[in-house]
Symmetry: C2
Subunit: 478 residues, 2 copies
Amino acid sequence: MATTPMRAVNPATGEAFGPGFARASRAELEAMADTAFDAVDFLADAPGALLAGFLEDYAARLEGDREGIARIAHEETALPYAPRLSEVEFNRTVTQMRAAAACLRDESWREVARDEANKLRSTLVPLGGAVVCIGPSNFPLAFNGVSGGDFCAAFAARNPVIAKAHPGHMNTTARLFAHACAARDAAGLPAAAVQCFTDCDPADGEALLAHPGVAALAFTGSRAAGMRLKAACDALGKPASLEMSGVNPVFVASAAAEARAEAIAEAWAASVLLGGGQFCTKPGVIFVSGASAAARLAARAAESMKAAAPAVLLTAPVRDHLAASVAALAAAGETPLCGGRAASPGHRFEPTLFSLGAARARELRALVAGEAFGPLGIVVAVEGDAQLVDFARGLDGQLACTVVSDAADAAVRATLLGVLRFKAGRLLDEAMPTGVAVSPAMVHGGPMPATGDARFTAVGLPAAARRFSKALCLDRVR
Amino acid sequence: MATTPMRAVNPATGEAFGPGFARASRAELEAMADTAFDAVDFLADAPGALLAGFLEDYAARLEGDREGIARIAHEETALPYAPRLSEVEFNRTVTQMRAAAACLRDESWREVARDEANKLRSTLVPLGGAVVCIGPSNFPLAFNGVSGGDFCAAFAARNPVIAKAHPGHMNTTARLFAHACAARDAAGLPAAAVQCFTDCDPADGEALLAHPGVAALAFTGSRAAGMRLKAACDALGKPASLEMSGVNPVFVASAAAEARAEAIAEAWAASVLLGGGQFCTKPGVIFVSGASAAARLAARAAESMKAAAPAVLLTAPVRDHLAASVAALAAAGETPLCGGRAASPGHRFEPTLFSLGAARARELRALVAGEAFGPLGIVVAVEGDAQLVDFARGLDGQLACTVVSDAADAAVRATLLGVLRFKAGRLLDEAMPTGVAVSPAMVHGGPMPATGDARFTAVGLPAAARRFSKALCLDRVR
């Protein structure tokens, strides 16, 4: 069945540009999985230095094309060329790649344990099949299936990768993949070590996951798609690393709210608006203890948001999902303090702020707790610190949670941190959660629905490689 | 709804004895989960030395009652009093408990990473709810939900435990639990730190898993029950550690088979018969390269098995499942070389051996690949080393696989090890797999259906504790 080729769309203008990309057919996907076996043993047994050399060469080739890559990514995503794409995200990408190379050289990802008395040696090994890497719309380089964190972690654990190019940045991905192929071929790796396709029918994607040549899934994207893929992988008994959703709430204790409502409002609004509000760690909701402080905080946040231009969103679906979330709040009787409308040209939306009382926030729980990419923030005014703790206890799993407190808030701060440690992968004291450092001490994870499994992190090697490895004991094996 | 209390059955005689035990009601299970919250923060924040002291005191109390515990376990399971229960399994139990205490003292289970420059610290923390521990029939002490490996691993990661007593050893479990409660109370732990119930309706068990006071499941038992519980936990997004099934095949390369068929047969038959064939690592199938060597191996194994008395099986369901497996092979036209019948008194079964050609083994794959506890072994004669590798490639996930080879078999040995590293949690060179050392370098795991997730091990601290912990990053948290 022939389908119309897809073309990139410039989100700032709404205009299509560049070449057409064909969706992969089921036969093409199955051929990729068939050939993955060619690379499994090669990658499992190759010298670490060879594989590390591939990643380092890949990183060097990317750096040689830094401007070209960042420019096409900018055209496809409307994320700022500089510093966001050409510096911050670009550097993150090559840093991750070199960290993965270091893992391959020092074998730190293997977590070897030895017991000479019992003639035992345990080590992590690859999974024995390819990892399908499905990246998100919002990081065209650093979380791209063919160059991002999951690619690096899967390859650090010596697995072949089959990457899916996101429709929001197909040209960027093709350009990255060309560099990957050049480095792969220069290193003498099998072609199946890194493969890439451009979108597919969801049923064909599930058939790919079920193929014996595929051992695991790495997915970053929406909760709905992630939960569907999780069910498929769970039934197959294949590991799935799923980064899905969160509203990453901020909890402001009463003394801090009273003393610093305006400063907190500005820091929060800046974090909400960062990258067009399209960070998975966007603090979409802020719970503020005390009605008058909450009103001050909301008023100042509205001022900040009104002063900001409409955000250009990554794709039409991102804009439409945001518009639907805003419309649902409006339909429930809520009026935004600012914004609330799409804008043109392209996929734009006004910075939008709602302010709700605690009772309303409970009634509208599904809307308050549901992630919406884009420049949308919700202030929830709660009646005191005890109610702040109640909201913390009622949270779904989150990637990150922040506590803002002053010295007089010490008791509630401790209680909140005690509750939230089980709710989020990352706890922040004062700081807003946008910005996830590439560090071995980072945890980018959290309980479902933030991710599929709170035991893992998607950022920070060597721990992130553990997601794509298998435990093995060699018992008297010489 | 009142149900008839359950009484223990002596498997050697088939006679019921001792007091009646009531199945837990849904209300009782929910009350346990409700109160688990009382222990979550206490255990998360308690000094490690306090929690370690509890485990050490528990171990000491068990040692003070070694004979009494081993005797009642013997009466309920018919496993040998000595050395099996009173020494080997008893020592394993207290050794695991002390290893968990050491983890709590040295905090090695936390896997802390620090990044001072970014003000980050990552650490594993408890899951924030109880771990439901469901142990198997075959290790009344060392894998018991209230004293075994999963209990120790869950508690080492500071989680409360809700243990289910197996109907096959309710009196043993009650006796262990009494010591646990005495140690718990002496240490000043909340009552909810360790709770225990005696079996329940499966639907009530699923309701328990869904309760917010329950964070994870540890299960050791049948594949059918494990897969049902896996589906429940997967849908809830709660970690499930599932040790289910395996036939743990042995692969005998042609030169070794030719040179040593009889010696290999004796080692294999002894491993099959160990503990009545009721080890999860029983090597139920042996693939032998070369028809004449396979025939010699089968003949000698049959001699060994004929010389052995009928095994007393743990429970009537274990005996019935074994009888059904044997009947299915017979119905498919296979005649056992020896055994094949239940015996009396109690739950006995004759050591039973089948020998199949490769083509028949393929036709009867479901029977050959399906685990059956008890003294049943299957020899599969394959036509040469290439076919041996084919069978290895076609394997389901296993807890353990063994390769037996001579110097002339070096090439096929390497190929087999290369294939099997992705199929099993533990690879053995020459040695039979029964016997799982308690060691940090052990992996008791493997791909589904051996377990639910090949990334973990159920034996070997601190790694085993990772199954029941959550990753947390403290970001600028003082």
